[in-house]
């Protein structure tokens, strides 16, 4: 047999791994190892205090420091994060939004300290606040000032850091919150249009720069398991973006109209049950965004097989990186021209998606665009509805999920033996970070810090660009919390609509009717309808579970109080008492369940309230056992997909508690 002729290979996409934890130093070591393993770009995961603008010693940061990402409190941290990583040679993607301007300022200042000029920097700040309100939940400020900060960064980078992507319009997170492909396309386009229109309205951005601004817009997509449809989605977005560029913004140069996007493949569909199957799901999803040469992703991040169990260890991440490398270097994928050009099937599907997405986009533009459709909750409500439909079809079996609602018999998995199949962040990380923060504060010059903060305040109040005074503040030794507090005082804080309205018709099968009857019956013995509080304590923004539990509880006839994300344990306790609920359900996915649940239990005890507490989320089994020992009535994790059964058990819990009284 003769060797097949080697064709010229296309350049592979950028390989990234979304990572960061504990401290800047530990994360720097991880990044350097990953680069040595053949990773070609960095993707920084920040911890929740950094993302929401709190210093490590702020009460809201308790239990969260260094947990789900790296804590960056000041310039020293940022320098430590990139020690021996020359910024002029790196392409860095930072998943940072509300505090994006600040983290970019720290990055610029770090570059300057390394002797690298801003113009040489390459990378991306995610900086997409619209999807934060809709899904990701690390927003801080109201929509208007948020749009202003985004457009400030666009205006600044287009001059000063021309190779920077100031915003990465994300539809990734929308799919993770339940979006259909059509919603993903439509809302991403609406979002990009909102940003471009905001930039175009600025006095300091001349009209002839708009094509360049358009060219700097990049996207961040998802790719789910229905990978043929995902192939078509990528192609549809590529075509739509080109049309928007030409028609709405008059961009002549086709190169500037190119749809540039990175991808993280779907994690929502990765399962806790038989987690090894996730490795295969991940490969198939990666195909969806690499298959088409004409619409191939520029950068790719793959989640790990143990996604639904907890944080990935270096080995888990390595497996995902190797998956990408096999796809790019062993297969012949990169040797061919576009495989689907001329395919009637693909073209028809692309047209279908485009048409439906255009209709939805027009609807959003008709209400005043993406910002208006955030404030009036339109988009969020549509996402919650889509997610309700998804979960219903998993429960009913209409949607097959192998290992979850079909083919559930399994041998014990050697991969998950023991409790060590995930990364455990050392509890000392928080204390040490606070120690570094204190030392840093002691070292800096307070007069310079005050002057820098005053400069920031003045610039913002006078409508000047946020970037220059932020860079000065970074050099002067301002901390993340101080920067964000300054903006909080000026702009105020925002709470986005929850989108939980439940317009979907009730499920009326036998199982649901039975639960409904039990809810009514227990309501009769209680004297009033069963009332539940669904609470999200802490900085955790994962709202899917809470939303769907709320929708379901209402569906079976409960009165549901759900006030959205980011409440303190004491707010939850007060709410439970004032609202007179019979049961509290807490949803926590960020890994800080131990501290937060204990605080709620303690709060209830000190108020003399005997309200049963149920917990759900990413809770490793040994932690679940501890929670139950402390009095938590039930603990649910992703494998508990049968929401009707969960509801039935909540009725049990309330009934038992009432019988005891």
């Amino acid at each position: 047999m003769t060797e097949p002729a080697r064709r010229e290979r296309d350049r592979p996409w950028v390989f990234r791994t979304y990572s960061g934890h504990s401290s800047a130093e530990a994360s720097n070591a991880l990044y350097r190892t990953n680069l040595a393993k053949g990773q070609t770009g960095l993707s920084v995961a920040f911890d929740l205090p950094t993302q929401t603008g709190y210093d490590a010693d702020h009460p809201l940061a308790r239990g969260e420091v260094g947990k789900v990402g790296v804590p960056i409190g000041h310039l020293d941290d940022m320098e430590a994060l990139f020690r021996e990583i020359p910024l002029d040679q790196m392409n860095t993607s930072m998943t940072i939004n509300a505090t994006a301007a600040w983290l970019l300022a720290l990055y610029v200042a770090t570059g300057e300290r390394q002797g690298v000029a801003p113009a040489q920097l390459r990378g991306t700040t995610q900086n997409d606040l619209i999807k934060e309100y809709l899904s990701r939940g690390t927003y801080v400020f109201p929509p208007e000032p948020s749009m202003r900060l985004i457009s400030d960064m666009v205006a600044y980078t287009v001059h000063d850091i021309p190779k920077w992507n100031p915003i990465n319009v994300c539809s990734y997170h929308l799919q993770e919150a339940g979006a259909t492909p059509v919603q993903e396309i439509a809302y991403a386009m609406a979002n990009a249009i909102a940003v471009l229109d905001a930039v175009r309205a600025r006095d300091d951005v001349p009209e002839d720069v708009i094509p360049d601004v358009f060219g700097r817009m990049s996207f961040f997509l998802n790719a789910g398991i229905r990978f043929v449809e995902e192939i078509c989605k990528g192609r549809a977005m590529t075509e739509m973006w080109d049309e928007i560029g030409r028609e709405r913004y008059g961009v002549q140069d086709p190169k500037l109209r190119r749809f540039r996007y990175g991808v993280q493949v779907n994690s929502l569909g990765l399962t806790e049950a038989q987690p090894e199957n996730n490795a295969i799901r991940i490969v198939l999803e990666a195909l969806g965004v690499t298959f088409s040469k004409n619409a191939r992703c520029r950068a790719l991040q793959l989640p790990a097989w143990n996604e639904a169990l907890g944080l990935p260890r270096p080995w888990d991440q390595q497996w995902s990186l190797r998956t990408q490398q096999i796809l790019a270097f062993e297969t012949d994928l990169l040797e061919y021209e576009d495989l689907f050009e001329g395919s009637h099937v693909v073209e028809a599907k692309v047209e279908e998606l485009k048409k439906a997405a255009q209709e939805e986009l027009d609807r959003v533009l008709g209400m005043g665009g993406a910002v208006a459709a955030v404030e009036n909750a339109y988009m969020k409500q549509r996402l919650v509805e889509s997610h309700t439909r998804r979960l219903r079809s998993i429960e009913s079996g209409d949607l097959t999920v192998v290992g979850v609602n079909a083919y559930t018999e399994t041998e014990p998995s050697p991969l998950v033996e023991g409790a060590n199949a995930i990364l455990k962040v050392d509890e000392s990380a928080e204390r040490e970070q606070i120690g570094r923060l204190d030392a840093f504060r002691a070292r800096r010059n307070p007069t310079e810090v005050d002057a820098a903060l005053q400069g920031l305040r003045d610039a913002l109040a006078n409508g000047q660009n946020v970037m220059p005074p932020s860079i000065r503040a970074a050099h002067a030794g301002v901390t993340t919390g101080e920067w964000a507090d300054t903006l909080r005082k000026l702009f105020g804080e925002y709470r986005a609509p929850t989108g939980v309205v439940a317009r979907e018709a009730q499920v009326t099968d036998e199982a649901n009717e039975k639960v409904r009857a039990r809810v009514r019956a227990v309501g009769a013995t209680l004297g009033r309808p069963l009332k539940i509080l669904v609470g999200k304590p802490g900085l955790d923004g994962h709202s899917n579970g809470a939303e769907q539990i709320a929708v379901k509880a209402r569906d079976v006839g409960m009165e549901v109080v759900y006030d959205g994300i980011r409440l303190t344990p004491s707010e939850i306790v007060q709410s439970a008492r004032d609202e007179g609920v019979h049961v509290i359900g807490l949803s926590i996915l960020s890994g800080s369940h131990q501290i937060l649940v204990m605080d709620v239990l303690e709060g209830l005890r000190s108020e003399g309230l005997e309200i049963p507490v149920i917990v759900g989320g990413i809770i490793p089994e040994d932690d679940a056992e501890k929670l139950r020992q402390h009095g938590v009535e039930r603990v649910y994790t992703p494998k508990d997909f049968d929401l009707t059964r969960i509801m039935s058990e909540i009725v049990d819990v309330v009934g038992e508690r009432h019988a005891r009284d």
Binding site: P142, N376, E493, R495, P497, T498, V500, V501, A502, Q506, R516, V519, R520, G523, L526, G527, R528, P529, A550, V551, A553, R554, D555, V556, G557, M558, E559, V560, V561, Y562, D563, G564, L567, T568, S570, E571, Q574, S575, R577, D578, E579, G580
Partner: protein, 325 residues
């Protein structure tokens, strides 16, 4: 004397939630206890207690945001506020989503603010009875009571009977206004607010249209309902609204307030009797005219006490066949 009554009147915050739970409880023993508590409170503060302000208007008009702004105003001068938010979307089959607190951030963690959301449970007179009991409890324990309800065309009458001052919240764009004008709803509110004034000219246009529209209706000579433009979001016009609420209270005077409360009492007794015993029960009492005579004959009597007395009479007349559920 109940245990909760004196505690509420002494403004013991920890008595508020149990009291609200009690007045909502439909078990016979609880209902008896609640009736005593409510009659007791009404006797003490039926003509006094906290000022009661209602906010009504279409969904999305900005009632919750405005409520938040008003709560902040009160808290800034150290006055306490009790809030009842009635959920618009409750279902026939039971079940309700009560997430309206999301935009009411002023209360979070502050003991000077109390928020209870309630489902409009779709029983006859349901809104009025449960909410009225709640309002009474809150007006014993707090300096101010605010009630948010969705105005969908029929409930304004009920809310107007619950509060001392009814504020109608509209948003720029006259579409819904025309509808309300047609439905004759605009006769009820004491103050009109066009919210979202930050959007600019459209708000001022709506304000003028509304003012012109109101000029056509018949009104009480002592008080002409003003139309204010505010931005709940940006805190613009809130001071003026606050002043207007105070002005309305002054215009009402002790007499006006008493008349208003007694109108509310009468409405609640009527609705309560019909909800519990149906028109059949009302017949047993001698019909509507008889009921009106009884109401007129007992001007000082607490509504909740009257409801019990009349209920007993009906039950006796019916030979206890239609005992309250």
């Amino acid at each position: 004397m109940t245990e909760l009554g004196p505690r509420l009147l002494a403004r013991d915050r920890s008595a508020v939630a149990p009291a609200l739970n009690l007045v909502d409880d439909r078990r016979p023993a609880a209902r008896r206890e609640a009736a005593v508590l409510l009659a007791e409170l009404e006797a003490k503060i039926g003509r006094g207690g906290a000022p009661r302000i209602g906010l009504t208007g279409a969904p999305g008009a900005g009632k919750s945001t405005l409520l938040d702004a008003l709560v902040r105003r009160r808290r800034a001068v150290d006055e306490t506020v009790g809030v009842i938010a009635v959920d618009p979307s409750s279902r026939r089959t039971g079940g309700a989503l009560l997430g309206d607190r999301i935009r009411v951030r002023s209360g979070a963690g502050d003991p000077g603010v109390f928020i209870r959301s309630m489902a409009a449970r779709d029983q006859l007179g349901g809104l009025a009875e449960a909410t009225r009991a709640g309002v009474l409890v809150l007006s014993a324990a707090f300096d101010w009571v605010l009630v948010e309800t969705v105005g969908v065309g029929q409930s304004e009458g009920e809310v107007a009977d619950l509060v001392d001052t009814l504020v109608f919240v509209a948003q720029p764009g006259a579409g819904d206004l025309l509808q309300f004008m047609k439905a004759g709803i605009l006769e009820l509110p004491d103050v009109f607010v066009v919210n979202k004034a930050d959007v600019g000219a459209a708000a001022e246009r709506t304000r003028r249209e509304l003012e012109a529209g109101l000029g056509l209706g018949e009104r009480d000579a002592k008080w002409t309902p003003p139309v204010l433009a505010v931005s709940a979001r940006d805190g613009i016009g809130i001071d003026a609204l606050d002043d207007t609420l105070a002005a309305h209270r002054r215009a009402l005077g002790a007499e006006g307030l008493a008349a208003r409360r007694s109108r509310g009492r009468d409405a609640a007794v009527r609705a309560g009797l019909v909800a519990r015993y149906g028109s059949f029960g009302l017949e047993a009492l001698g019909g509507t005219e008889a009921l009106e005579r009884r109401l007129a004959a007992a001007p000082g009597e607490p509504g909740f006490a009257l409801l019990e007395t009349l209920g007993n009479e009906i039950r006796a007349a019916l030979g206890d066949r239609a005992a309250g559920s």
